[in-house]
């Protein structure tokens, strides 16, 4: 017996999930070929299956520390990163697995990082919250709420300084918008007209505190105080994410103007896996999102209606994503841990390049 393929694994697909999107008519979406649409869908599915597999690994105690899952928010990272050109850059906070996969990092190195293995993308030195891939213009992966936003502004500053036509996307959660560093970065970006799009992934909760209990006013509208452009979009609809983000990315690239975009999304899992998730929202709320707004299901229905996807292809993509995630876990499992000798590598550039070292004296104190 074959189950009807569904992104919300083991939940019944629901015909009430919407699939019509006015943003599908935006030029940036109209121009998408069939294969590219399938790729977008595939990437979202790969993120979900990766996250589900990493959750199982966490529950099996293969992963230490925190695990902040991206399940439910896939259309945001995939939609935004699908718009990246050569000189566009991305930085985000600690819920970073989706962005890492969306920019093209391999799931083996990502899973191995979760397992704390030497084959991980940061050699087991960063963990879940600290993925980086500068070769893919992905600058992390940062653990302190809002702390990455000045860095993202610096990426934009560097682009402008070098005269490159590109944009930085600096992602944050809705909990970050009240941090001082974020507002300082807004001011600098607006003052110096830096090509940065500040992306608020509003999943409704800063850890266990709802937006209405933590933030006064509309989140993106705060941009008006800095004379910045702003917009909002539906993070359950990848076409809408792409249509709105394309507009602001063009503004950044072509006119070197910053903007704030609030993308309304939802996370199905707790803030981290350690969050019992039973104190601040009702299970029925989560179920309602899963049933009616799941971004993968929404896009699946859209692509089926467009004649791009059919059940067989969906099943094939899903199976491949599950197999890839399982293989990543196998790879991570089989990989070696770093050794105690590795602890003091990658601290100083100079210590790692002894032949080129110019300084003298002790760098380490043991």
């Amino acid at each position: 017996m074959t189950k009807k393929p569904s992104a919300t694994a083991d939940k019944k697909a629901d015909d009430s999930v919407s699939s019509a999107s006015p943003s599908s008519r935006a030029a940036i979406n109209q121009q998408l070929g069939k294969e590219t649409r399938i790729d977008l869908f595939r990437t979202m599915m790969r993120i979900r299956r990766f996250e589900e597999r990493s959750l199982r690994a966490y529950q099996a105690k293969k992963i230490g520390g925190f695990l902040h899952l991206y399940i439910g928010q896939e259309a945001v990272a995939v939609g935004c990163c699908s718009l990246m050109g050569k000189n566009d850059h991305v930085i985000t906070a600690y819920r970073d697995h989706g962005h890492a996969i969306a920019v093209g990092m391999g799931v083996n190195e990502l899973m191995a990082e979760l397992y704390g293995k030497a084959t991980g993308c940061s050699k087991g030195k960063g963990g879940s919250m600290h993925y980086f891939a500068p070769d893919r213009n992905f600058w992390g992966g940062h653990g302190i709420v809002g702390g990455q936003i000045p860095l993202g502004t610096g990426l934009a500053y560097a682009l402008k300084y070098k005269g490159l036509k590109g944009a930085a996307m600096a992602f944050m959660g809705d909990g970050a918008v009240n941090q001082g560093a974020v507002h300082e970065a807004y001011n600098l970006a607006a003052l110096w007209q830096l090509p940065v799009v500040f992306v608020i992934e509003n999943n409704g909760y800063s850890m266990g505190t709802s937006q209405e209990r933590s933030s006064a006013g509309d989140l993106a509208k705060r941009a008006e105080g800095y004379n910045m452009a702003w917009g909002t979009c539906d993070g359950h609809d990848i076409y809408d994410v792409r249509a709105v983000m394309d507009k602001f990315l063009r503004l950044a690239r072509e006119e070197s103007k910053p903007a704030v975009v609030e993308i309304r999304t939802y996370r199905y899992r707790g803030h981290s896996v350690a969050d019992p998730d039973n104190t601040y929202r009702a299970k029925s709320e989560i179920e309602e999102y899963r049933r009616t707004k799941d971004p993968i299901q929404v896009f699946q229905n859209t692509l089926v209606a467009e004649g791009v996807l059919d059940d067989a292809l969906i099943a094939q993509i899903d199976q491949a994503a599950r197999a890839e995630a399982d293989a990543a876990a196998d790879f991570a499992e089989a990989s070696p841990f770093p050794t105690p000798d590795d602890i003091q590598k990658d601290v100083y550039w100079e210590a790692d390049h002894p032949a080129e070292r110019k300084s003298q004296g002790r760098l380490f104190f043991d």
Binding site: H89, G126, F132, W139, I144, L155, Y157, L363
Partner: protein, 325 residues
């Protein structure tokens, strides 16, 4: 050799490095139009223009973090903190982001930033503006910390700092900005992590850095004249990396150590030094290691009393005599 001020020596280092490398950019509060709160950057805007010399808003977390981000993409920002005391409002950017990004990325990302500015007491500005955070900074693996005491050292060390591929925190001193000394013109590089024996001696070693070097040299003169005691003064110049070998070599000669530092005593740079000296030079010591620090309280405002809170020649002399007793 030209005699110029500590301030001019830093300015020359900035100008030469701006000239040499188009990716070097100077940013900070009042560094451009105002010509620098302490006039260190005077004239640089006129010479290099507003792209290279950039006034920032009073927004340390924002602009320091921005510099860290820009450095990841290959810019070499030299960021001025009007006072290092303001590091506390940018702590996350300095010590989470700049210090850790190379490590957390498994060595994929470098952060070639310099953050510079004065860090000292003695100017009657009260506790908020008188911090000397070199111990706090140096506690973070991944960073380098420099505290020059003379104009020549300031120039040579800053030029090396700007060329360094790791984050370097450069701590100057408002009281030293007007001090004059001989400074080589043009290419003058002093490697980070190399201490300098500022005065040779045989009876005790004074290990120190920053403005305390000057107090120690003055005290050493008094020790010689009034007590016939010969003090060797070792200027660390760089806190991290640390040239402990030069210190141990001196200790092997004098067998007595006085550490002098403008630091609060608890977990200071001197605490680390004392540990290392006893651990690695125990057999050379003829007396317990002695230490003179700032008197352990927030910086007092009252001008004549602040002099007594900080190291000064008389306090150094007294501590040295205690060590020799």
């Amino acid at each position: 050799m030209p005699v110029i001020t500590y301030r001019e020596a830093i300015r020359h280092a900035l100008a030469e490095e701006l000239e040499r490398d188009a990716n070097v950019v100077v940013l900070g509060e009042e560094v451009a139009q105002f010509n620098g709160a302490y006039k260190v950057t005077e004239g640089l805007l006129a010479k290099f223009g507003p792209k290279r010399i950039v006034d920032t808003p009073i927004s340390e977390a924002g602009f320091i973090g921005m510099g860290v981000g820009a450095s990841m993409l290959g810019i070499r920002p030299v960021m001025e903190l009007m006072f290092w005391s303001f590091y506390s409002v940018a702590f996350d950017q300095i010590l989470n982001n700049a210090a850790n990004v190379r490590y957390m990325s498994g060595g994929l990302i470098n952060c070639p930033i310099v953050i510079r500015g004065p860090a000292n007491g003695g100017t009657n500005v009260g506790a908020t503006h008188s911090h000397t955070p070199e111990n706090v900074l140096a506690n973070h693996p991944g960073v380098k910390v420099v505290v020059p005491s003379t104009p020549a050292d300031a120039k040579g060390l800053l030029k090396s700092a700007i060329r360094d591929n790791d984050p370097v925190f450069f701590l100057e001193n408002t009281i030293l900005y007007g001090d004059k000394g001989e400074v080589p013109e043009g290419e003058h590089l002093i490697p980070l992590g190399l201490a300098d024996v500022k005065r040779a001696g045989t009876d005790l070693t004074i290990v120190t850095y920053g403005r305390s070097v000057l107090h120690s040299l003055a005290a050493a003169d008094l020790l010689q004249k009034e007590h016939d005691i010969s003090a060797e003064v070792v200027d660390l110049r760089t806190i991290r990396p640390l040239d402990i070998d030069t210190v141990l070599k001196s200790v092997a000669k004098t067998h007595r150590v006085l550490i002098v530092e403008e630091q609060k005593p608890f977990a200071s740079v001197g605490s680390q030094l004392a540990f290392m000296i006893q651990r690695e030079g125990f057999d050379e010591l003829d007396a317990p290691i002695h230490r003179l620090t700032t008197v352990d309280a927030p910086a007092i405002y009252s001008p004549p009393v602040e002099v007594e809170q900080l190291p000064n020649p008389q306090r150094v002399l007294k501590a040295a005599l205690e060590l020799m007793a």
